[in-house]
Amino acid sequence: MCDVVIAGIGQVPVGEHWGVPLRTLAARAMLAAQRDAGGLKPQALYVGNLLSPVVSHQSNLGTLLADNAGMSGIEAFTVEAAEASGAGALRAGYLAVLSGYVDVAMVVGVEKFTDAVGPVIEGAMSETMDYDFEATNGLTPTAAAAMVMRLYMQTYDLPSDGLAGFPVLAHENALNNPNAYFRRALTREGYARAAMLSTPLNLYDKAPYADGAAAVILTRPDRLKKALEHPLVQVRGSGAAIDTLALHDRHDPLAFHAAVVAIQNACRHAGILPADVQVFELSDNFSVYAALCLEAGGFAQRGAGWKLANGDELSLKGRLPVCTMGGMKARGNPAGASGVYQVVEACLQLRGEAGANQVRDARRALTLCLGGPASTAVCHVLQTWQ
């Protein structure tokens, strides 16, 4: 197998881009990634998106986005895997380059929430669950996370603010990220006072949905005609797995089995153990999911993931920095784009371009993106290429 590297990255600030159409949001990230890759022209575009057909009434994004960004004639399609769509698109792009069929692939994750409002959004997000037997009974992804959180807190006897460490850390790390949605600190007191969204899950246990787009360009090193000004990052491993779609079909809803399998497959492919990474970009779209991601990776025993966030272990100077640019909680959660944001942020760390948030000696990173309560999980191992 050949080496596959990330030659360019691009992102737009996550936020409410009311006046910016989806195509333009994507184009900004795509063109930034292309500039970052020294103008390298892609032969293929793989789009990660979840909501556009429902919220923006627009399908066939592959053609729309490639056409609008001046890439007519290339190959393009959309990958959808719930909130893991962006990570799924990256996997499709990685396999395409690995196959030897595609030399240069662009992957863009894009999500536009602000073409609709309120209940329409909760309804659209609920389509990621079993519509006939979960959503039609009023369940939403937030409510599913709340039920997981209640089980977790009761099973492992957590205090009421037991999960506060995750959003507090995310907000701290976002302070220095110019692309973050929320650049303000959160205290444990602020967490304790927050309004309930879905008991016992409060406002700060949920990453805010927002507009965003992020892109990367994948290629083989021998395809780069000139040296770039930044280091290359290699995609060293990739893994993906599904679990039951519905939470009610799990024998053990606190075992994120799909995440376990995805991490194992990606690490086996890379020839590493999860402990061999210096950065872990995980899914903190709900704070309890961050704890379960840590447990799925074997970084904590079952039921002990939450404790890691109450010390310094996960901070930028700790043993296993997570959510280094603010995570989904504070950078914002542009659903189908989040998986690509994670990879862009991991690249910043591995390229030494993370500014005030730089993790020292970061050479290898793990990214883990979930769809639903780990109904889908996609994992990648990235490392500095030499």
Binding site: N137, L139, T142, R150, S198, P200, L201, H248, D249
Partner: protein
């Protein structure tokens, strides 16, 4: 809910009709095309008793489209006495606090608001606390 889906799901929604696997006898709800226990394909209809206990629950303050008028409402994972777990709203709670392990029983109730489409009112299963003295 559109008309075709409404009719298609009617049996499951009104009477909690699932399936029993003729190969391994496991009881299944909602219906599936392959038995999750043994991988067998053919299945027979099975009517659940509607008795169960709360496995987890949440009270929701933000609702998706179609449920806006009901907030706050409580959704639960209910473990049926025959084995499967179902997602359903809890109803008739009165002053009683919900707890994991609480016994509940199925009732048929209006599930959601009239939709844009056709003026259909969707009824289906909810669960209510089992009254003291009724068992």
């Amino acid at each position: 809910m559109e008309v075709p889906r409404y009719w298609r799901l009617q049996k499951q929604r009104y009477a909690l009709v699932g399936e029993i696997c003729p190969h391994c006898q496991v009881k299944i709800f909602p219906p599936r095309d392959v038995c999750p226990e043994c991988g067998g394909e053919a299945k027979q209809p099975f009517s659940f008793s509607g008795k169960g206990t709360v496995f987890s629950f949440t009270t929701m303050y933000d609702a998706p489209k179609g449920f806006e008028m009901n907030t706050p409402y409580t959704v639960a994972l209910v473990k049926l006495e025959e084995g499967p777990v179902v997602t359903a709203q809890l109803t008739d709670l009165g002053e009683q606090p919900v707890e994991i392990g609480m016994p509940v029983e199925m009732v048929t109730r209006r599930i959601r608001e009239d939709e844009e489409d056709k003026g259909i009112i969707v009824y289906g299963y909810k669960f209510r606390p089992v009254m003291a003295g009724t068992h």
